[in-house]
Amino acid sequence: MSPILRRETTLYKQILSLLVVLAVITVSGCLGLLWLRQKIELTAQATRTLEVEIAKEERRLRYIDTKIAEIHQPHYLERQIQRLGLNLRPPMADQIVYLDGYPQYQTNRPEESDAYPTEREKDPFRYSIDLAVMKSLTPVD
C-alpha cells in the first residue's frame, strides 16, 4: 500500500471513529435527557399526589373541627345530659370554693392578664379540639 493511500485510510478511520464517538455521545445524551425528563415527570406526579393527599387531609381536619365544635356546643351537651339521664346542673354560687391563686376569668384587665397561659394566646385551636371526646360522644341529632 502506498504511503498516500495508507495516510488516507488512517484519516478515514479517524473520521469514522470520531463519527462513532459523536453518535454514541449524542445517543447517550438523548437517552440521558429522556431519563431526566422521566424522573422529572415521576417527581412531579408524586408531588401532585402528595398535594392531593394534603388537600384531602386538610379537608378532613376541617370537617372534624366543625364536628368537634358541634359536640362542644353547650346546648348539645345539655341534650346529652338529658339523653343519658344524668342529673347534672351548673354549681350554685354557694357551692364554689375559691382557692388562692385560682385564675380569674379571662379579661383584658392588666392586673389579671398574667394569670393566663400564653399557649392559649398562641394556639386557640389546641383549646377547642378535644379528640378524646370524639369517641365517647356521638351526635344524637
Binding site: T43, D65, H75
Partner: protein, 587 residues
C-alpha cells in the same frame, strides 16, 4: 446502455426523490413553524395550557376561648348517572337509600329518569341527576357501597356549629359566597384570604401534567378572627331568651351582656332570630340585630341620666327632698303638666325617686338641670349618636337638639320619653355608671390571628370618655342597688348574696301615632356585684304578652336574674368579702 449508465440514472433519480422529500419536509416545516406558527401555538395553548385558580381557605371566627363559631367544611352533592346505574340491583340501591336517609321510592324515581327533552324538542340522555347533599361521613359510607354510577361533587360551605347562637353578630355567607352581615361582612378583608393561581398543562384526558407547571402563585389563607364573645355566656343568654319567649311571647326582645370595665360584649341575642346555616328558611326581618337597629323610648332606665347629671352638677344630693305631689310646675314661664306616677309619692328624697322610679321626681330633677345641660348629658351618655359598633347596621337613635324641643320635652325627656334609643345605647349608659363614670365603646372584635406565623393584630376600639366623676358614679351605683330590693321596682332581679344595681324601664309603645295603654316596652338594665361590677346585663322586651302592663320589673328583671345566676360560676364572680354564707349552727 452500459451498466454504469444505469447506475448513474438510478443514483440521480434516488437523489432527486430524496432531495424532493427533504424539500417537502422543509416546506411543511416552514409552513407549520413560520406561516401557521401563531395560530397553531394558540391552539396548543387553548387545548393544553390551563390557568388553574387555587382557592384560599376562609378564616374561622372564634370566641374568646378559641371555640369555633364559624368555620368552613366540605359538603358533597351526591348525584348519579342514570345510564350507568343498574336498577336491577335493588338490594344495593335500598342500602343506599337507607344510608342517605331517603325513601327508596324517591331514590328510584330519581335514578329512573334516563331521558329528557331539551328546548329544541330533541330527546337526550340524562347523565347527571342530583340526589342529596350529604356530609363527608355519609359520603364515605356511600362509597363503601360501591354503587355503580353514583358519585359526589364536593364543595365548601360555611358552617355555623352553634346554629342560632350569636347569629346576629356572626352574620353569614349567602349562596353566592358573599358575606351578608355581621363579622362575616365587616371583617371579610381579613377572613377571605387571597386566591392563588397556577399555569399548567393537561393531557388529552384533561389530566394535569404536573411536570409542565410553569408559574404558580400560592394562595394566602384567610386569617382567623377572635371575638370578645363567650360561647357559654351566649348559650346562657339564648336559653334565657327561650324561656322569656316561652313565658311572655313578645313581639321582639334583645339581651346584651358585657364587661363594663373593658366594654367587651360577652354575648348578645335578639328575638326573633335565625339560623345562618339555613338563613333562607327565616323571614328577612329576623336577621335584624334589634339591639342596634331598633329604637324605642327607654322609659325609666333613662332616669339615670338626669339624676347622674344633677348629682354631678351639685344641684342635688341623694337626700335632697323632691316634691312629687305637684301636678303642675312652671318652667321658663310656661305652666307644665307634670307626668304622673302610679300613686302620689308626696315629698321624697332623690334616693327614693330612684327606688320608686318616680316620673314626677325625675321630671323635676330634669327641670332643675335645665334644657341645655339635660341635652348635653344625654349626648355624653351616648344617646342620639353612634355608639361606635364596629359591625354595620347601627342606628344613632333620636335625641332632638334643644331648639327643636316643645314645651313639654323638659318634663318628658328625664322620664325616658321624647328620646329614641337602641338597647345598646341604654346598655352603654348603664355601663358608664358601672365603670365609675367612663363611657367605653362596645368591643366585639378582639384580634385577628394568622395561624401560620402566629402573628396577631389587636382590634382596639379606642379610649373611653369620662361622662361623670367617679364619686357621682359611685353614688349612682349605691342608689341603684335599692332598686333591686323588696322596696324597689326590680326585686325579681335579686341575686342571693350579691348586691345588684340596676334600673327598670316601662314605656308605652306608639301605635297609630298614639301612646298605647296595652302595648309596652319592658326593660331592665343592671350590673353586679354593685361595688365591683363584673357584668352589665340589659334585657329589653317588646310588647310582652302578659296580663296587665308589661312592666320591666315583671318581664325583664327575671331574665336578668336567670342570666346572672348562670354567669356567677362561669365567670367566677366572687361574693363580696364581707358577705358570709348562711351556716347552720349546731348550737
Amino acid at each position: 446502455m452500459s451498466k454504469v449508465c444505469i447506475r448513474k440514472t438510478r443514483f440521480h433519480v434516488c437523489s432527486a426523490i430524496l432531495v424532493a422529500g427533504f424539500l417537502m419536509l422543509c416546506g411543511r416545516l416552514f409552513f407549520l413553524q413560520v406561516i401557521q406558527a401563531e395560530s397553531i401555538s394558540a391552539e396548543v395553548d387553548t387545548v393544553r395550557k390551563r390557568l388553574v385558580r387555587i382557592e384560599a381557605k376562609r378564616g374561622d371566627i372564634l370566641d374568646r376561648n378559641g371555640n369555633l363559631l364559624a368555620g368552613t367544611r366540605s359538603q358533597i352533592l351526591l348525584g348519579a348517572d342514570p345510564q350507568m346505574v343498574d336498577l336491577t340491583k335493588r338490594d344495593q340501591l335500598a342500602m343506599l337509600a337507607g344510608v342517605i336517609d331517603m325513601p327508596f321510592t324517591d331514590l328510584m324515581e330519581k335514578l329512573g329518569r334516563r331521558e329528557r327533552i331539551d328546548s329544541s324538542g330533541t330527546t337526550r340522555q340524562v347523565r347527571w341527576v342530583p340526589v342529596k347533599e350529604i356530609n363527608e361521613d355519609l359520603y364515605q359510607s356511600v362509597q363503601g357501597l360501591k354503587v355503580q354510577g353514583v358519585y359526589g361533587n364536593r364543595r365548601y360551605d360555611r358552617y355555623y356549629p352553634g346554629h342560632e347562637l350569636g347569629s346576629h353578630v356572626i352574620g353569614y355567607i349567602n349562596k353566592e359566597q358573599t358575606p351578608v352581615m355581621g363579622v362575616e361582612h365587616a371583617l371579610d378583608y381579613y377572613l377571605k384570604g387571597q386566591v392563588g393561581w397556577r399555569e399548567t398543562e393537561v393531557d388529552g384526558r384533561r389530566r394535569e401534567m404536573a411536570a409542565f407547571r410553569e408559574r404558580e402563585v400560592t394562595p394566602r389563607n384567610g386569617l382567623h378572627v377572635e371575638l370578645t364573645m363567650d360561647l357559654f355566656v351566649q348559650s346562657v343568654i339564648d336559653s334565657a331568651m327561650e324561656k322569656l319567649v316561652e313565658e311572655t311571647n313578645p313581639a321582639g326582645a334583645s339581651i346584651i351582656v358585657s364587661d363594663p370595665t373593658t366594654g367587651e360584649v360577652l354575648g348578645m341575642a335578639n328575638y326573633p332570630t335565625f339560623d345562618p346555616n339555613s338563613f333562607w328558611d327565616f323571614p328577612i326581618e329576623n336577621q335584624r340585630n334589634r339591639a342596634l337597629t331598633d329604637q324605642y323610648e327607654p322609659g325609666s332606665t333613662f332616669k339615670i341620666v338626669p339624676i347622674s347629671a344633677a348629682l354631678e352638677e351639685g344641684i342635688i344630693d341623694p337626700e335632697t327632698i323632691i316634691n312629687c305631689g305637684e301636678e303642675w310646675k312652671n318652667f321658663n314661664g310656661v305652666r307644665i303638666h307634670m307626668p304622673s306616677d302610679h300613686r302620689n309619692l308626696g315629698e321624697i328624697s332623690v334616693r327614693k325617686v330612684v327606688t320608686k322610679s318616680s316620673n314626677r321626681g325625675a321630671a323635676q330633677i330634669g327641670m332643675m338641670l335645665g334644657e341645655k345641660r339635660m341635652y348635653e348629658y344625654a349626648r355624653a351618655f351616648g344617646f342620639g349618636r353612634s355608639v361606635g359598633w364596629p359591625l354595620m347596621g347601627e342606628i344613632s337613635g333620636t335625641l332632638m337638639p334643644v331648639d327643636k324641643w316643645d314645651g313639654l320635652t323638659i318634663s318628658r325627656l328625664p322620664t325616658g320619653y321624647a328620646v329614641g334609643a337602641t338597647p345598646m345605647q341604654v346598655h352603654l349608659a348603664m355601663s358608664t355608671i358601672a365603670n365609675d363614670g367612663v363611657r367605653l365603646r362596645p368591643k366585639i372584635l378582639r384580634r385577628v390571628i394568622n395561624p401560620e406565623d402566629e402573628n396577631q393584630l389587636a382590634l382596639e376600639p379606642g379610649k373611653g370618655d369620662r361622662v361623670i366623676s367617679k364619686e357621682t358614679a359611685r353614688l349612682m351605683q349605691e342608689m341603684l342597688v335599692s332598686v333591686v330590693s323588696i322596696e324597689g321596682t326590680a326585686s325579681r332581679a335579686e341575686l342571693t348574696g350579691y348586691a345588684v344595681a340596676g334600673k327598670t324601664g316601662t314605656s308605652r309603645k306608639i301605635i297609630d301615632g298614639q301612646y298605647s295603654t296595652t302595648n309596652h316596652f319592658g326593660s331592665f338594665s343592671g350590673f353586679f356585684p354593685a361595688n365591683k361590677p363584673r357584668v352589665v346585663i340589659t334585657v329589653v322586651v317588646d310588647d310582652a304578652n302578659v296580663s296587665g302592663p308589661a312592666y320591666g320589673g315583671l318581664v325583664a328583671a327575671p331574665t336578668f336574674k336567670r342570666i346572672g345566676e348562670n354567669l356567677i360560676p362561669h365567670l367566677a364572680i366572687r361574693k363580696p368579702q364581707n358577705w358570709e354564707p348562711l351556716l347552720v349552727s349546731n348550737d
